[in-house]
Every structure is written in C-alpha cells, then in structure tokens.
Symmetry: D2
Subunit: 366 residues, 4 copies
C-alpha cells in the first residue's frame, strides 16, 4: 500500500472519531430538547427550525461538499436525532414487534388465532344468497371440523348493477346458520353506520381489500371490541397494510388479524399474485396473526392446495377459503369457489384440520 495514502488514512481515522464525538454530543442535546418539548407539550418535529438550521449550514459551507450534499448529510443527522427522541418518547408503533415481542393471540369466541395455536380455517360462501344456501354450507363445513364461518352480506362490487348482498337480512341468516352449527361468524363491514347491526350478529368484522384505506371505517372499527380481519389492499404496500392495522390498534382495538389476499400484478394466468414474502414480513415486523385468503390470491381452484401449503409454510396462522353448494350458479366469484366435494378434497390434500404448526412461530419470534 502507498505510504502517502496510509498517512492520509490515519488523518481520516482521527477525523472519524472527532465526528463521532460531536455527533454523540449533538444527539444528547437533541434528546434533552425532546424531553423538554414533551414536558411543555410541544411537537417534536419543527420543520421551520430544520429549515433555519439548513440555511445556516449552507451559508457557512465553503466546500468541498456542494450545498446539496451538506443539506442531505445534515438531514440524515436530524432524522437520526428525531428517531432517538421518538424512541425516548415511546411513540412506537403499536403493531411493531419492537413494541411487543410476543405473538398476539386473537380470540374469536373460543377459537384462538395466532401464537402457538394450530392454524385456523375460515370457510364459507363468498356471499350469503339464501337461507338454503347458507344453511347447507354451514352444515357441511361444520361437519368437517371448521370453526369459523365466512359469508358476505354487504358486498363491494365493481359494477353497480351486480348483486350487492342481502344486507342485514344476510347477517341474520348467517347468524342463524352459525348458531345452528356451532360456528363463529365472520362478515365484511363496508360502512361505520352498519356497526351496530354487525355487533349484534357477527363474531368477527372483516375489512375488505377495497376499504383497507377507508380511514373513517378503520377508526370506527378500532373503537369496537369485536376482533377484526384486515385484508391487504389490492395494490397496497406491506407498510400501508401495517399502518392500516395501526389505525385499529391506535383507536383501542388490539384484536387485529392481518389477511394477505394476493396483489395486483401484470400476470394474467392468476387473478392476483399471492405474496408470501408479505406473510413472512408481516410476521417479522408485527406481532399480529396473519391469515391468507387463498381463494382471491389465485382466483383458481387448481391453486388452492399449493397456495395453502405455501402460505402455512411461510408462517401463516390460518387460511380463508370460499365454499358454495353450487359455484356455477353463485351470484359472485363463480370461477373460484369450491363445491362440497371440492372442499372435502381440499381438506384431504392440505391435512386440515390436523395441520402441523410446529416450526411456525419460532421462525419469527426473537
């Protein structure tokens, strides 16, 4: 190695340590400011102050860094200090595993979702269409060991002329069917004004993909005591999905289960693309249970078994699947619901309800 370079590098090493000393002192002063701001009730983030500091630095800059580089470096320093203040203030995200390291277990009635409990299966028709249909389906899935029943009464439909669900009558039919067969009832809520009816009839509220960022609905459901199944939006990032859950926890409802349901991509062989990385990252970054809706993920019956196996292997705490007595005449999702024989074959192939969960939780817990 060149001697001249060696000498210059020794000087760099000294400068590095001097910089570290100043940065640490600066951080300590910033922490003191943060504590004081909390005392007197001031916001920690003050963009005018940041702007003033940057202006002072730029006017003092004589190079060799450009003004833009100076600004960029100091913004990093500001941000690092701000993070320190936030940690100190415990303004941590409630959904984060850093906030709570153990897995949250959500109870839907007497059924546990998450933690070391066996993977759950939520099964039932896309939409509740009639008393016969919902009764027959509930009877069949209950006979096969299912504990959680799904069925839509209010349906979000792209086309205003499509079947929109039976509304409150659908909730009543679902409740009746669940009571008759010892099932817990999961149904999608589309608007906060329907909350009293849902609280009367259902055991778990579902927030659908299209409403994942309906913040008014999130706030209302966050004030309910019912457990919530929060689907990921059609093209939501993982961060947006977790932030939607944060709204629910922030409003006071800790009983939140995340549900991956495939994301929108360019691929045309499947309706959506199941994102197993999102399952893994949701388990890593949050303490909430994570389910996978395998019906909407692929939009194809021939993918239900492999997608279920992949989801469970990635650490999912359960699966949602659509079952209908006669999918060919269903009022929605004709192509992707399975009939009773198909459902039985699905259970056999996936080993539900005896699914092994060993190795699931240790993947993600610290």
């Amino acid at each position: 190695m060149d001697e001249r370079i060696e000498a210059l590098r020794r000087r760099i090493d000294e400068l590095n340590l001097d910089l570290l000393r100043l940065l640490s002192e600066r951080a300590a002063v910033a922490e003191a400011i943060g504590r004081r701001q909390t005392e007197v009730g001031l916001s920690h983030y003050d963009p005018m102050r940041e702007q003033a500091m940057l202006d002072a630095l730029v006017s003092a800059n004589r190079g060799p860094f450009s003004d833009a580089t100076v600004k960029s470096l100091f913004k990093q320093v500001f941000q690092a200090s701000m993070q320190l203040e936030q940690e100190q203030d415990k303004v941590q995200y409630l959904t984060s595993r850093r906030h709570r390291s153990e897995d949250t277990v959500v109870w839907v009635g007497d059924v546990a979702v998450g933690g070391d409990h066996p993977a759950v299966l939520i099964a039932g028709p896309c939409a509740i269409e009639s008393r016969e249909q919902v009764m027959a389906t509930a009877a069949h899935v209950a006979r096969r060991g299912v504990k959680l029943f799904r069925g839509g009464a209010f349906k979000p439909r792209t086309d205003p002329y499509s079947f929109q669900g039976l509304g409150v009558e659908g909730l009543e039919l679902g409740r009746e069917a669940c009571d008759a067969h010892g099932l817990r009832f999961v149904a999608e809520i589309m608007d906060a004004t329907d909350l009293p009816a849902f609280e009367r009839h259902v055991d778990m509220l579902q927030i659908g993909a299209r409403n994942m960022q309906n913040f008014h609905l999130l706030k209302a459901v966050g004030r309910s005591r019912l457990p919530v199944l929060l689907k990921r939006g059609l093209a939501a990032t993982i961060e947006e999905w977790v932030m939607a859950a944060e709204y629910l926890l922030h409003e006071g409802n800790p009983n939140v289960v995340l549900c991956e349901r495939g994301i929108r991509t360019y691929e045309r062989f499947t309706r959506n693309t199941l994102d197993v990385s999102a399952v893994a990252l949701a388990k890593l970054e949050t303490h909430l249970p994570v389910l996978v809706d395998v019906t909407h993920s692929g939009g194809r019956r021939d993918l239900l078994v492999p997608l279920t196996k992949a989801a469970l292997a990635a650490g999912a705490d359960g699966i949602m699947v659509e079952v209908h007595p006669n999918p060919a005449v269903a009022l929605s999702d004709q192509k992707q619901q399975v009939d009773f024989d198909g459902f039985d074959a699905y259970l056999d192939a996936t080993l539900f309800p005896r699914t092994l969960t060993a190795g699931r939780t240790e993947l993600y817990r610290g």
Copy 2:
C-alpha cells in the same frame, strides 16, 4: 390450390351460412324471451337455465369437438344473445358514450369543465393548514387567473400519527378564502356523514384515490347535487374507475368529472406513473370530462410542465396542481408542491390560462 381442399372449402362455406341462419333464429327467440321476462319482471340472467342447456349439449355431443370446446362455444352464443337482450332493454351504462354521444359539461358554479370549454386549472395547497396559508395561496392563484381552488380539510393519511387535516374548521377557512377571492372551492370528502358540512361549504366534492371503491361514499355522493371530482384509485383499472363513476350517475348525480392521478408501478424515479392512455380511453369510452392531477402523477416538481402538456395533448379537459406558500414546511406533500414563484413559472411554461383547446374534443366525439 389443391382441388380436394377447394371442394371441402365449398362445403365449409355452405355450413357457415347454415350456422348463421340458425344462430340468427336462435337470437330472435332469445330476444322474445327477454321481452317477456321484462314484462313479467323476471331477471334475464338465469344461470341454472344456462347450466341445464350446457348439460344437454354435452350429453348430445359425439365429437369431434371436446365437451369443453362445445361448452365454450355455446357460452359465447349465450353471451351474445344476452348482450342483445340487454341492448333491447336499454340497460346501458350511463357513463358510456354509446348511451350519450355528446360531451357532458360539468358546471362548478360559473366555471364550465369539459366539452369545448377551455381547459381548467384547479390549484391550491395539498392541505389547509392555517388561515394565513390558505388566504395567501387563494390570493396568489386568483391573481393569476385561476377560478377553481383546492385544499384538503380531511386528509387520508397512511400513518395514523400524520397530520389528519383541520376538519370542518378547514372547510370554513377554505370557504372564506374562496369567497374573498372569487374562487370556487374543491375539497375531498372521506365519509358520507360529513356530507352536510361539505354541502354548506364547498362547490365541488372530491373523492380521493383511496376511496374510489368506497361504495357507501359513492352512493351518498351520488345522491348529492354538488359536482364531483372522482380520482382514479392507486392501482385501479380504467374499467373499475369508470364503474365507480357509474355508481354516481346511477344514484342520480350526472355532474361527474374523472381525474387521472398516476398509477402504481415498479418505477422508482417517479411517485406514480401518469397513464395518458387512461385519459384518452376515458374520453373515448365515456362522455364525462377528464382532468389530470399532475402533482401526484409524477410526485416531482420538474415533471409538472411536461406532464401538463402531455395530459392536455391527450385530450384532458383540465389540470390539478398543488401550490403552497412554503412547501418545505408543509404538513404533507413537501416534495411535490410548488411555491408561488414556481407556480408563476409553471403558468408561463404551460401557457395557462390561455391554453389552446382546439383539436381536443374532435379527437373523441363521433
């Protein structure tokens, strides 16, 4: 050409004409059924009947087509007949240019949007933050000839700890600023329960990208008489966007303006990808005015001018752009709002408000 093939081809030609004759007769009978169903109040679509017909055909099939092919061909025939019945019943989409060939002009107060009217510009801050901020911005844009003012009072925010808007107070401040400067006020509504407050204070309701498929909100706003600016969802298809507008028209509100705002793609140099094809297709397929939000489309100030020019060239009826007295300290969208000097430069470069619109409408009208 081979003689044997020639002879076989002549036989094909005869069979084609026989098939056409039978298909036409079948279509006429199906039309008669449709008329009768309308008379006696029955639904035209009867999936059980379709299933029965397919079963009969499959059991009669002796090849050489496979049963799957027979089913697929007849499903095409059924669908074509169903379309005939629907046309006959005039169940056309209200948004469609086939339903209404002339351009719809939406009036926001005395400002016309669409048709042969000059392109409009909606300008104002992302969020209304204070009396000073909103007054200064309204004064500036009004002085530059802008007629439509935007400003958010209820803000959809990914993070629950971000600034959520001033709420009703923000609406009041926006109204006051608009009245002081002769502007029309456009603001985003996030929940149907806020509609009375919006009807008191604003001239045009905006439905944001995250709420494009909040069907409860769409139905409520569809029953209002205020004009509506309907943004395209983050990753909505053009069809879903138009169907969301159909909800509004179906509920009785014809004053709908579509607004493209960029779609979510893998590209990382821009926040979203402006989809000018969507502008062109929305103009081709519907009779509604189409605007482009150039601020959110690119998420970069240096793209505002070229994206505005491209949008207008593709046939957009107007542009939305965010202006803030001091973007660096804005409570949202710091990186993409322009300040007053930037706004003046933008107007000079894009020739607003003297923008030429010649050639715009003839592109899309029959």
Copy 3:
C-alpha cells in the same frame, strides 16, 4: 315459470341441438382439410381464407346479431377448428404436461433434479471473485452436503462500470473448486459464442432473467447437451417463461429446469416478489422440474428461510441460494448473500439436506 317463456325455451333447446350438429359436421370437414394440408405441405393457418369467410358471412347477415358479433362468434368457431387440426397434427408444445404426463427428471452429473427425487440445493457465491473466495465457499458448502455449486463468471450488470466477472478465468476457477470438492458446477452463460468454453468447464448452463428472451442464446443452448437452468424474466408472464423453455426443447435439449426468482412489482420492502403461484402453475402446466432462487426473490437475508419453506411447500424441486465468505465486501449482491454461519443456520432452519419431499409430486401429476 311463465308458459310463454317455457315454449320459447323449448324452441331454443331444439336450435341448440341443430347448431351442435352443424358445428360438429363443420369440424369434421375442417379436420379433413387439415389432413390434406399436411399431406401437400400447406400451412394450416390461412388468414386470407378466414377474411373471405368472414366477409361472406357479414354480407349474408340480416340480424339480429350485429356484424361485429357475427364475426366474433365465427372467429371462435374457426379457432376451435384450428385447435382440433393442431391436436391432430400433434403440434403440441413439448413443454406441456398434455404432451408428456410424467415428471421430467434432469440429471446434472449424478444429481437428479425433479420427479420423486429429494429437493436439491444449489449454493455458491453470486460472482466468482478470486481463487481463495471460490475455494473457501466450495469447501464449506460441500462439507454441509451440497452437491450443486453456483458461481458467476460472466455477470450481467445494469451499470457498465460495475464488476463484470472474471470471464473464462472464472469458469476455470469454478471448475477447479468443484473438482476439489466433488461438486457439480452451474454458471450463467450470456452469449452463444461462449458456449465452447462453458461446455469445457461447467455441468449446467444457467440462462439469467435478463436473457430469458434472448432467442439467439436460447436456440444455441437448445442445441447443447448440457442441462439448463432457465430463470424467469424480471417481469415475464408464466406463459412467456414456459415458451422460452419451449425454444430449448424445440431445438433438441430436453434437460431444462425452470427457475422462479421473483417478479418486479410496486412493493419496496422486498427486491422482487416471489411468485409461488408461478411455481405451482409451472408444475401443473409443464413436466419440467422447477427451482426457486430465494436470494433474488426477496433480496433479504431474513426472508431466506420462510421463502424456502414456502417454495418447497408449493412443490418446488429445489432451491438456489447465494453464499459468500464475507458478503460485506462482495463485488455484487452485498446485501443479500449469506456468510458461512448464516448458511449453516439456514440449513438448520430449513432441514436441508434432509428435506421431506413427500406430497410434492402427487400434487401435480395426473
């Protein structure tokens, strides 16, 4: 049910059967034409003829179907007939499970990939950088039971100023390391002119994501006898991926292994999005073995274990993973390669090389 409708439906039933009779006769005649065309060496697809038939039908059309509908219906009929002729001619895709129902087993030396054989693991550095680095890595992975070694000598790099690989010297170093430790050598080929050097030094050719549709390279590699690992393109559809494999088989190389490596989406927490549906569909639609590159799929070390489990659960026949003695100073992929300790932990967590494969193949075989 209404009597008038009943009567009309009976007429529809008769017409359906008449149509089926004519369609079947037409199909038989088309088959005869196809046989004759094959005899005299004519192409089956004749767009001029199709155009002439459509013109004749349109000029004979008296409604009620529109001309467009008539054309559309008959195009379906033409297409169905064409498919019949193709099946008859056995112009089936060589990659298709309809062409060959049993799983193809690809041998890389004495290592079997696919079928009922245990899942394989391909491990090694992103790029071969030096003799020390490749020797150390080969020694480590061989000690842990790995049989297949990867290492890039020609590197496709977005930036022309990035490290481009050691070229032929890299191939020689990789060969030497593999020979020293009883490993089979897999390396990426970027251009057909390098094929002789690869045939001298490697046991399996890799075609990278960026070259998936480099058809000249596909054709050249298709004429080689070496087995091929064909990565899916960055944003290739499943169909395009399978068609790229078809090029290889069509040129005479049956030893093709598909490799999913994540697709490009809007998500920013991961480098790419692992598409497990593609693994399942590739197994369903083709008879080829399918591997998953878990390093590039997520681009994150903390996802290697869950993505591996998910891939194997979806039916993958093996995994590829990048290992480097000191990833922090690697010349490429610093953030995603694991070091030796990380590799050992990975093997422990995923149970390689004792991975269970039970249940894998029966998922997809007829």
Copy 4:
C-alpha cells in the same frame, strides 16, 4: 418559545457548525486520497477499508446513537466523499446531461433526430413479409413525406412456432424498398453475429425491448458506427434504460436514440402503458434524443393519435408507428398495425410531417 429549549438550540447551532467544519476537512483529505489513488492506479472503492473504519467507529461508540445508526450515518459520509472523488476523476456517465448539456443530434443518413430539428416519424410494417408488401408500404409512406422506414427481418417472438422473420433476405428486401423510394432503413438486430449483414443493409440498428439488457449485443453494437435506436425493456426502470445506453456510449458509439414503448402494468385495456414521465425524465437526465413507439405503447389503433400528441407534448423527438397494407392478414401484430387509409388519417390528425416542435427543447436544456 421555551427558554430552556432556546438555550439548547443555540448549543445545537454551534455543534452543527463544528460538524460542518470536520466534514469539510474530512472531504478534503478524501479528495487527496482519491487523487493519489488515481496517480498510482488504485481503485477508489475499497470495501475492506470501509469495513475497518466502521468497525473502529462502532467500537468507539458510547451512545446515545445505536451502533446501527452510527454505521448508517457514516456510510452516508463515505458515500458523499466517494461521489466527490468520482466527480474529480471525471468518471461521469457519458449519457448524463451533467456530462454534456447540449442536446445530441443523431444523423440517420441525412435525417437529423433530436435537438431543434422537427420531430421525425419512423413508419413501416412490423415484419417484412414479402417483396410486394415491403415495396407497397415503402411507396406509400414515402409519398406521404416519411423519411425513415422500419421493417423487421429478425423477429423476437415469444412462441418458437411463430413467424421468425425472413432473416438476411428480409434485410435485402428492406434495403431495396428504401433505395427505390429514398428512405432510410431501420431494422432490429437480435445477435452480434448478424452485425456485418446489418452494416451492409441498414441505416440504423434497433435494439428491441427484450434485448435491452443483452449486454453482449449492447457491447457489439456500441462498437459499430451505425446509429442505434434503443428500446426500453418491457419492465425496465428508467435508470436501467439509461444504463443500457451508457453501455453503447462507453463502447464508443455516441449515436444513440432512446425509444419508450410502454411498460408492463396490471392494466388490461391497453397492451402496455405509455410512460410519458419516462420521456420527460430521459430528456431531463440525458442529452440523447427520445422517440416513442406509439404502436406498442397502447397496442390499439384508436390510441395512436392521442398517444402521439401526448408524446410530442412531453418533448419526444419523434414517433415510431407500424403500417401494413393489410393488417388483418399480417404475420404479426395484426391488431395494432394501421393500413394505408388509417395511416393517412393518422397523419392528418397528428399534423405530421408539419408537426410544430417549438417549445420542445427549451423544456429540458439548462
């Protein structure tokens, strides 16, 4: 404002200036090292040295920043210094406007592309199919004022059984047609070994979307003297596209024209999504001419006019469009090529060849 906070903020202001002083000195020393490294022929980037510095800093760190934060802040500092050294070394990207501020004008024979020259139109069939077809098309477009003729002789096709082009015979037919009608000939090259034939017959090489990252081809074409039309990859980022151009310039070929052709998204009403932001950013970030292929961007004839207008408004230096005597019987791209009448209507609607370019270049030049 609180007094205690004021006092602490004054201390922060001092520390900021001390930090700036140290950072500037450190940068000057790093520059000196960089100069010396250049003198003695050493690489500037030394990851082992970086690792050692980070280790020293972490072992000296006593808080309050976490070790991770210290590492992250210093990596920013290292990176900023590295950029300084690179600027000093003039290792700037050749494609960058920072390297060359004036627009590059590429001459294809006597036709200028880029700068202040009028927008160009490249027209011709997707594939050269026969002497009649290419002659008729060349005659028609030349009569309408077109100077640049496109026609594929080697066709990249997803399916190996699709028409693959006439090869060298196609190049000869294209050359003959161009010579007969005073046109310049643009054709796609798929492999470096074909370069001699292309250099004999064509005036401009096209690199197709599927070969945008075929680096071997890029290097070979970069050593040619023929001008190059470089299409953006199917799902390439803007950065990857510009880096592909950098390969060409780095090898010595400065005559590069970029060509946007739509990107792959979830939208299904269009074949691809035209990205006008990419046109604008390519003009902002590079000095190269940028064209738009409006045929592939939308994949629909009814979008050719609005997409052309939008592309030119965004600053494109020209347009590529596919024309065929009878698109219904074309051997490729049947649905998107225009016939001669359609082409005439397209020229009338878009005002080619009298298109105004005023305002184009000043958008992007400093």
